[in-house]
């Protein structure tokens, strides 16, 4: 419940990881960690594929990573046209932990480079939707 508030436009209403959106409103970007075997997941999962446990805890994503790759969308899918152009990328935090998100809109295209140091933070849009974005550090 409440997951329709996630992202520019959500396609999922109900998920057992809905608490993720509450964490965003508290200023935190969190993944899940399996209490039984310690496997860490981002994006969050309600169930552990490594040991089949559903006993999961939340952990805050690291503050510093490296931009592994990015793109700038000059053409948007249906329903996202107003945001164009916008950039999206993958952050590698090491230890098999990565994250996919939009890059902050105050980053100019010429300032975005593969390998640059980045961080991640929650963001709230004008319509109240909650998301997270990649920022330069």
């Amino acid at each position: 419940m409440g997951f329709e508030k996630f992202g520019r436009k959500s396609f999922t209403g109900m998920t057992k990881t809905g608490k993720f959106v509450d964490f965003l409103s508290e200023g935190k970007v969190e993944g899940t960690v399996c209490k039984k075997c310690g496997a860490r997941y981002f994006p969050p999962r309600a169930d552990c594929a490594a040991c089949f446990s559903s006993d999961m805890d939340w952990f805050e994503m690291p503050k510093k990573g490296s931009l592994e790759t990015f793109t700038i969308a000059y053409y948007a899918p249906y329903g996202f046209e107003k945001d164009c152009p916008y950039s999206m990328g993958v952050v590698d935090f090491g230890n098999n932990l990565k994250l996919f998100a939009r890059l902050s809109s105050d980053l100019k295209p010429e300032d975005i480079k593969v390998g640059m140091d980045v961080s991640v933070r929650p963001v709230q849009y004008d319509d109240g939707q909650l998301s997270f974005e990649i920022v330069k550090v």
Partner: protein, 393 residues
């Protein structure tokens, strides 16, 4: 080298924008050609498999409807989907049905009528072929996903926009001589020049990919008829055998993907299985069809299939090694870029091209030297599903 299951008939519709007919009529075009190619009647067929990406059609559960229209009832029929690689997956399933002894002759029919929805709607649906819970809310789409791979690959391996353009120039060379292709026009370097006001290919879609780096939507159908060895010898003068099949899957979310600069993992994994099963190496492949939904995808496929060392795929296009006269001809039918990419029909169309090449019947696209072994590389989604199939005479 196993010779248990053969392709005895292949067919393909013209790939077009805005097909003037329904999906059953579109399917019939490829089916009729494949049946006439095999020289069999519907009584000789004992099962059918239909393949597409379901978002584009209003018809639910199309297999039954199409089987009836093609005259393939009351034989068993069902539907298979792995997005852009649906019909390669269909061929893998049909191979298993025959190899198990359950069936002797199976029709695999791939189809897609993409033109019923707008390009933007189509992008939205294709975006939802990725992770709708965690990625589509950012406004993802296919070109953006492949652009992530292109950006990482270009940064690491010194691949340039000119190299990507040269992939497009190659596909256009063959699109011009393939009468079934949707894009029959030639492409010149000035079409990619951003300073040229008339440049058709230069517009940015998802940096670093431009209009000319992307394949065209199309409507189309393809048909592959498979038979066991006994039936193949009865029906076919030139059976083309399935020597090796490989298939793999990968995490849907980009956050769970390995090193982006190394290309799509499903390509390597499927290729490794197919080579092992066939008992051949990349050097034995005389002609190949690879999944060039974007120019970058062809370069990554060169490496995934072992035609070039890691990071060196660019050399093949710089040296024109993958042209028809080169040591490893790739996509000499125009590929997805020029022939077009009617999602569910694409794998079967690639297979048809290789079968015609191995039979020496590819017309103006025929590669010299009587090729005896060919390969098809067909990817679904952004490397979500990968299929590699090796064929031999």
């Amino acid at each position: 080298m196993p010779k248990d299951v053969a392709v005895i008939g292949v067919g393909q519709s013209y790939f077009v924008r805005g097909y003037e007919g329904s999906i059953r009529e579109l399917a019939f075009e490829a089916f009729r050609e494949a049946m006439q190619d095999a020289g069999i009647t519907t009584k000789d067929v004992d099962a059918s498999v239909f393949c597409s990406a379901p978002e584009y059609d209003k018809q639910r559960s199309p297999a039954g409807v199409l089987a009836e229209y093609l005259g393939l009832i009351p034989q068993p029929t069902f539907y298979i989907e792995t997005v852009c690689s649906s019909s390669s997956t269909g061929v893998k399933v049909a191979y298993s049905m025959i190899k198990s002894g359950l069936h002797d002759v199976v029709v695999v029919l791939g189809f897609q009528k993409m033109s019923e929805i707008t390009s933007a709607e189509s992008q939205e649906r294709m975006g939802r072929g990725a992770d709708i819970q965690w990625e589509a809310p950012f406004g993802t789409m296919m070109p953006a996903y492949y652009a992530l791979y292109a950006q990482a690959y270009m940064a690491k391996n010194g691949l340039t926009h000119e190299d990507l353009m040269n992939v497009r120039l190659k596909s256009a060379t063959y699109g011009q001589i393939n009468e079934r292709a949707v894009y029959r026009k030639g492409v010149k370097p000035e079409d990619f020049d951003p300073k040229n006001p008339d440049a058709r290919m230069a517009g940015l879609v998802a940096w670093p990919l431009r209009v000319g780096d992307a394949c065209a939507n199309a409507d189309g159908s393809s048909c592959v008829i498979l038979a066991n060895a006994e039936k193949a010898k009865i029906f076919s003068k030139k059976p083309v055998w399935i020597l090796g099949i490989g298939a793999a899957s990968e995490a849907v979310n980009m956050a769970s993907r390995p090193d982006f600069s190394k290309g799509l993992s499903v390509g390597y994994k499927a290729a490794e299985q197919a080579y092992k099963m066939a008992g051949v190496t990349p050097k034995d492949i005389k002609v190949a069809e690879v999944h060039d939904c974007f120019t970058i995808a062809e370069i990554m496929a060169y490496e995934g299939l072992g035609f070039a060392p890691m990071g060196e795929g660019k050399q093949l296009i710089r040296e024109k090694a993958t042209y028809k006269e080169g040591p490893i001809p790739v996509n000499v039918d125009g590929g997805l870029l020029s022939k077009g990419h009617p999602i569910g029909a694409t794998g079967g169309s690639q297979i048809r091209t290789i079968v015609l090449q191995l039979r020496g019947e590819a017309g103006p696209m025929q590669v010299p030297g009587e090729p005896d072994i060919g390969l098809v590389h067909n990817v679904g989604g952004v490397g979500l599903y990968g299929n590699v199939t090796i064929f031999g005479r």
